[in-house]
Structures are given as structure tokens and as C-alpha cells.
Symmetry: C2
Subunit: 477 residues, 2 copies
């Protein structure tokens, strides 16, 4: 393979560049660098051209030329994806298509509770715009300050708001997509109900840019809660307590239960040890913790009464050992900050092998028990760091190296550890990628372990929508 990233025909590059203008056609490797390396540095590719179109029309012309010249296109928005879907491969044949200049919020319709937004809008910008319109856009995740809506939709992003409001797919009512041929599929509907044929929207959402380029979408907005109460609870024995508490909380709060996060003792301790400006949420230590949030459309008092009712019942039933309800918005934010700092605080403990998995909620306690056994089998002394969105059946099941190991020998166990954990996931009919997607990271495993029928059907979809195979090749399927 050529080490120089100039594998595209210069005449073709010129034609692409002419569509967006020289200013927005990056050819200098210094300018290109931020687009070919993912932020953690885990994925690194090559290209000789990054295009930054400023309109849907330009995206359309780019795709038309890509089809004509057989040039592979890698769509990219915020470049925060965790599975390498938005990064070109090392061949140097791909062009990166950055959507970040398509950053208009086209319309907020407060009465219909919808927002029409372009792919390059930063998630936090959208959250703030919704807030200013007295509405809630509930998608919320660690990268929200830099991730963009196009990537959120293409990866069907999850995060902490899924329990009550759904993932990116469920928040999306309509899409505008530029197809590989350059044709624009305008499906920007604001409709909650529409049974006029096949569900095309949900094919593009979650397709990681392999079927077309999402350039805009209609997303749902929600009334802004008037009360938002956060509690931190310590559980006395096992994840079974957490399952009982979740069932109890769902029973009382229903869709007012807006978060239910499980945290094991080890990540809790890591955060107390390594976190900056972290306050200990509970006086005593417990084997498991839950961060729970209840939202009320009526008032703070109503939310507080509801969350206290749930916790009291939990204490009475012995499934909660101790709990504290945030006394202020600031304390609620501190609890959330504790939760969001967990991944960061795993780093000082050395190399880790991570898994973004989901299982049926009822299987979470058994999964945790069984997985701990196989982890110990692969690497005695390895430290399980388990936390996640329990209400969605989604755990970030990470493994830190044994205390007395170096990083490298542990990371050599990456594949056997992955396989061992994922085999347990599969034994519970779970998912090896609950919210991060497939990208490059899990493509081989998906192809090797998914039901052949599923792979066959996905390949038919891919061939039907992208017969020339120019949309983000080497990703997902």
C-alpha cells in the first residue's frame, strides 16, 4: 500500500473540489488530519480530500459525481463515533464528506412539538434551542458538546434519555437523505402516524452512512418538565435489588421515570478516587448503586413526592440500603456529573477492554454473574467495571487490567476477552452493540456471529440502495 495518501486521480479531485469551492475542499494533510483520526486515536485512516459542502444541493452534486466516478464517500459529522464508522479506511481511496456546515435549525414548531434540523447541528446547540423554545430535546450523551445530529441519527444514538424518550430512531419523525446517485429523498414529515408504505426512514437511521447521506431530519420535542428529581441509592446485596427497584420505580412512575442507571462498587470507587471535584453521594459504601431520575410536568414538589415514595417503598422492601434525593438542581447535576465521569475515571487504572452490550432486562443479574466468571477465566485478577443504562437493558461492561499487570499483555487478551463476554451476551439473546453501532470495530464479528439470514437481508438492502458500493464501504456490512 502506498504510504502517500494521494491515491485519487487529481483530475477527479479537482472536479469534486469545484463543487464546494477551494476553501471548502481540504487537500492539505494538516487540514485533513482532524477528519481522518477519531478523537481517542483508535481509528486512523487516509484520504487526499475532505469536502465540506454548504448546501444539500452541493451534497447532491458530490454524490452524483461519486457515482459517476465510482468514488467511495465517507459521511462524517461530529466525528465522535466510537466504532470507526465515520473514519475512512487506510486505502486512501475514500473521500470524506463532512456535513458540519449544514448546521441550520430550519424550524421549531412548538405546537407540533417538532424541530427540523440539519445534519451538522451540534447536539447541545439543539438542546439549547429547544430549551429556549420552552421545549425539551431529550437525546443526551457524553459527547453532546461536539457530536452532531447527522451522526446521532446514523448511529441511532442512545445515552441517558432513552428510558423515557427513546433512542435517536424513536425521536426521528422524518429524514432528508441524499442517495448515492445524488437524488434527494425528501421525507421530512412531522407526522406521528403515517401508514403509506414501507418504513424507509428507519433504514437510513442507524445505517451509519452506508445507504445514503442524511442531510436533515424532523425530530420530536417534548414539554419541559417542571420538576426533575435525581436520587442516588445504595443497594445492599446484588443487581437483583436493582431489578426489583427498577420494577418498583416503573410501576409507580411509568414514563415519569426518566433515568435508571446502575453503577457497581468498583467504578463508584474509581470515581471517588480519580474524579475531579467529585463529592461522595452516600455516607456508607454499598455493593451496587443506582442513579434514578423522575420528571414531573406539574411541579418540583410533585416529582419529589414521587421519587420519595419509590425510595421509601424500596427501603421498606429491603432492596434499597440508603438513598439521597438531590436537594437542589445543583446537587442533581452533581449526581449526573458523578455518573458521566465514570468512564474517564477508569483510565488511570490502566488498560481496559470495553463492551457496549444489552440483554433482556430480566437477565441483567444473571448476565452480570455469568460474565464475571468468564472474565476471571480469561484473565484472573482482571477487574470488572460495570455500569450503564439498566432501564434499557444496556450495560457498559468494561474490564480493567489486573492491578499488578502492565497494559500491553492485558490488551493482547482483547479478542479472547471480547469473545468470552460476547458469548455470554449471545447466550442471553443480547446485543453486542447496544448503542454504539458496528462501524469498522464490530463488522467482522457481526458477519461471523449474526444469523446468516439477517446478514443476507442486510446485504440485499445494501445492494438495493447502494448498488455501486460507494457509501461508506467497509462499514457495518
Amino acid at each position: 500500500m502506498n504510504d502517500q495518501p494521494f491515491d485519487l486521480d487529481p483530475a477527479v479531485i479537482d472536479r469534486f473540489a469545484a463543487i464546494v469551492g477551494d476553501k471548502y475542499a481540504l487537500r492539505d494533510q494538516a487540514d485533513i488530519a482532524p477528519y481522518i483520526t477519531e478523537r481517542r486515536g483508535l481509528w486512523h485512516g487516509r484520504t487526499s480530500l475532505v469536502l465540506r459542502p454548504g448546501s444539500v444541493e452541493e451534497v447532491s452534486r458530490i454524490m452524483r459525481l461519486a457515482t459517476e466516478t465510482g468514488t467511495p464517500i465517507v459521511p462524517q459529522s461530529g466525528n465522535t463515533g466510537l466504532v470507526g464508522a465515520q473514519v475512512p479506511d487506510k486505502s486512501g481511496h475514500d473521500i470524506v464528506l463532512s456535513l458540519s456546515r449544514l448546521n441550520r435549525i430550519r424550524e421549531i414548531d412548538v405546537l407540533s412539538n417538532t424541530v427540523t434540523v440539519e445534519a451538522g447541528v451540534i447536539l447541545q446547540t439543539l438542546q439549547e434551542a429547544a430549551d429556549a423554545a420552552d421545549r425539551l430535546f431529550p437525546l443526551s450523551l457524553a459527547a453532546q458538546g461536539s457530536c452532531q445530529i447527522g451522526g446521532n441519527l446514523s448511529s441511532n444514538a442512545g445515552g441517558t434519555g432513552v428510558l423515557a424518550y427513546g433512542n435517536a430512531r424513536e425521536l426521528c419523525l422524518g429524514v432528508e437523505v441524499v442517495l448515492p446517485t445524488g437524488e434527494v429523498f425528501d421525507d421530512l414529515r412531522k407526522l406521528k402516524k403515517d401508514n403509506t408504505g414501507y418504513d424507509l426512514k428507519n433504514l437510513f437511521v442507524g445505517a451509519e452512512g452506508t445507504l445514503g447521506v442524511i442531510t436533515a431530519a424532523v425530530l420530536k420535542l417534548f414539554p419541559k418538565p417542571k420538576g426533575r428529581e435525581v436520587a442516588f441509592a445504595g443497594l445492599p446485596s446484588s443487581p437483583k435489588d436493582a431489578l426489583s427497584l427498577f420494577t418498583l420505580a416503573m410501576d409507580r412512575a411509568g414514563a415519569s421515570l426518566t433515568a435508571f442507571e446502575l453503577i457497581a462498587r468498583r467504578p463508584y470507587d474509581f470515581t471517588l478516587k480519580h474524579g475531579q471535584g467529585i463529592t461522595r453521594p452516600l455516607a456508607d459504601d454499598w455493593p451496587w448503586y443506582v442513579l434514578m431520575q423522575v420528571s414531573s410536568g406539574r411541579s418540583e414538589e410533585d416529582g419529589k413526592a414521587l421519587i420519595e415514595e419509590i425510595l421509601s417503598a424500596g427501603l421498606e422492601q429491603g432492596i434499597v440500603g440508603d438513598a439521597v434525593v438531590s436537594a437542589s438542581l445543583a446537587q442533581g447535576d452533581a449526581f449526573w456529573n458523578f455518573r458521566e465521569t465514570l468512564p474517564e475515571c477508569q483510565k488511570p487504572e490502566g488498560a481496559s477492554i470495553k463492551h457496549d452490550i444489552s440483554v433482556p432486562i430480566a437477565s441483567i443479574p444473571d448476565f452480570i454473574e455469568k460474565a464475571a466468571g468468564v472474565v476471571e477465566g480469561v484473565c484472573p485478577g482482571a477487574r470488572v467495571v460495570c455500569f450503564g443504562h439498566m432501564g434499557d437493558g444496556n450495560l457498559h461492561y468494561n474490564i480493567s487490567r489486573p492491578v499488578d499487570w502492565q497494559d500491553e499483555p492485558f490488551l493482547e487478551l482483547y479478542h479472547p476477552m471480547n469473545k468470552a463476554v460476547h458469548d455470554v451476551v449471545r447466550s442471553f439473546h443480547g446485543s453486542i452493540s447496544a448503542e454504539h453501532g458496528i462501524g469498522q470495530l464490530k463488522r467482522d464479528e457481526l458477519l461471523a456471529t449474526a444469523p446468516p439470514m439477517a446478514i443476507d437481508l442486510m446485504r440485499r438492502v445494501k445492494a438495493a440502495f447502494d448498488p455501486a458500493g460507494i457509501m461508506n464501504p467497509g462499514k457495518v456490512i
Copy 2:
């Protein structure tokens, strides 16, 4: 065309019959009759064979033989669909595949809040089984005593529970599908989050049996509300009041607002006049009415307080003229009965032309005003009968003939009336089939009026999944 329905090769019929056994291979036209006529008698087709398989394995063998012999298959479950999707055409070439013997509830998982259910289970049976397990299965519609889950999924059924719980698609976590080739696609997942490739499930849901045969599904269950309060409100001026009241109710109740139905004065009066055992909900007459339901996971008192808070605020703001909250479960049921009797009570008023439409919620008042004008243009004196699931933007916008007309001349206006109303729908970027689907009824209109790009993409999906075109031909696309 042959008047006798024996267009299939008798040797082929014998081979199909051998799969299910003679008892379940209906060849006698008297036995076949209920399967080829839709209950209202609007759709009537022909066939010489109805197959009633008793297992997924038999469905698989039927489809394999159908592929081998090029025999078109029309899947059918409860035969209550309103657009003719489940009825064979008049050619006599199709075999009807009835799923009604696949009627097992395979598993209720109360902790994961899921039920795994076969296509032939009657909706009400499922509701009752969920109830017995202290859970709610919220899909609810007029035909629930006879419609079956396979049809509910294939038509992406809506109904009165969509506002808080979603339509059939949103209630479905996984499917088991027999493909045209007879291969079984087992995708019966209980996972709320699973980002491992393209969303195949949502292609089969809502495809009206044109891509494969749904034989089973994993559906969501919910905690059973402890309080369910129903109110009937009279609105003083226009649908704008209803929009304001809806916004107010959503703001206070959020997902606890479990129904918001709009009813115009005319269907209200028809129901008072023609309904059996109907009680007048409100003392005075109002131009518009709303049936609203609030559910509480905490208690009846909590639900009552919430709904009264909403109505008080509505009265104060002048958008509610009068309202009554059900004093008992029985009165709540009576309010619902009033709502559900509306379609029935339109019949004694003579022929009607119906529309199942949706528009963005904010556009409902303008739609109602504009549509009334075009109806009067097509047929002066025609009576608009407007009611529906306002919270979903979905109206059943029906037109009864003028009082002094006969049925037939009015029904001759079917096509111009449809076109006029649907043109208004399209001008608001709405849907001409919000919850009933396309089937045979709206296929030509869909093909003629949908964006060509949407039709092209749907055709590609159809060709990718059913290249031989044997799945429910002539429906949807």
C-alpha cells in the same frame, strides 16, 4: 376472467394441501367464503384454496412451495383490515394463508416487560393475558375482539393508545418472519437497544404482508396504571381551543396523558341520536368536544388531581366551556363507549365517504377549516363528520351525504371528494393513510401522488425481499 374460482392447477393445490392436511386446507367455497370477503363487504376476492397451517414449520413449507410453483400468497389473520390488504384479488390465482391457528402466547416476561406472541392471537386475548400478569398491553382499537396480532403488526395498527404508548411498530421489539423462500428469519429479540445493523424489523412491520409472513413477535408490556381518569370536555369555539387544551394537557401530564380525542358537534349529535344506551356526557351543547384520559402509576386520587388541574386551567383560560371527570370506572367506560360508538352512529345518516388522515398537530385547526371549504365545493350540503386521535394528528375525516340526497349519487362523488380532501392533506404535508394502511384501496393513489423517489425506494425493497413477487401481489406497491 373465469367466473369459477378454480384457476390453480389441481396438482399444485394437492401439494399445498398435503402440507397442512385436508382438515386445514379449505377447498369448498362455502368454507372459503369468510376468507375472501372482508367484513363490511367492501372487498371481495376469489381463491380455490385457503391454508390454515398449525406451525411455523408448515408456513415455511408453504412458502417454499409457493416460491417453487410461483404461487401468490395472501397472508391473513383476523380479516378486519379496512383497506383490502388481507383479501385476495379477483384473479383466483392467489392462495389465502390464514395465520389464525398460530395462536399461542409463547411467553410473558413480566420483569423484562415483554410478551412473545404468535400472529393468530386475538388482540383482546393478549390484552387479557397481559392484564392477568398485572401488565398493560396498550394497543386498543375498535376491532380488538377479532383482529389478530399478525394483522396489527402488518398494518402498523394505531387506535386510541398511540398517544402515550406508540403504534404497533413502536410496541414491537422483535419479529419472526417466514420469507417468500420459506426461510425463517428469527429476530425475536427482547432488546430495547440493539444497534447491530439495519432495522429489518420495521420493514416487515407495516408492510401489509408484501415482504414476508410475520408468524410471531416480541411486544412491549407496561405497568398497569393504578388510576385512569377520563374526562369529557365541551369547547366553546373552534379546534384551536382543542389545540390549546392539548398543549396544556401535554405540558402538565406528559406521558401520563394517555388519550386525547377530538369530536365535532355533528358526530356527537349523531351518537346521541342513534347510539344504543348512550348517556349525554355534558348538559349543554358545544361546537367541539374532547375526550381526555390521564393515567397514574400512583393512585386514582393522583390521576384525578392531575386531570382536574388540567381542566381547571383550561376553564380559566377560556378554552374549556364545561367538563366532567368520570366519577367511576363505569362512567369512564361510558365515555369511551361514546367515543367508540361514533363510527357506528354515522351509518343511519346514509352513505359516507371516509378519510383516515394525519397532519402536523399544529395544522389541525387550519386543515379542518380548509377541508370544510373543499367538501362544500365538491358537494354542497354534504355533512362533515370529524373526529379522531387529535393527539396523534390523526383525524377520521368522514363526509355524510346531504340530508336530502340518496346514497348513490353521493357515492358517485367518491373519487372527486377523496381527491379534494387528500389534496388539502397534502398541502399540509400530511398523510392520506394515518393508521389503516394502503392495501388495495389506496394503492393507485399512493403510486400517483407519493414522491417518485419514495416509490422507487419501496420498489427496490420489494424486489430485494420478494424478487418473484409472490407476497400479497397488488397490495401497497
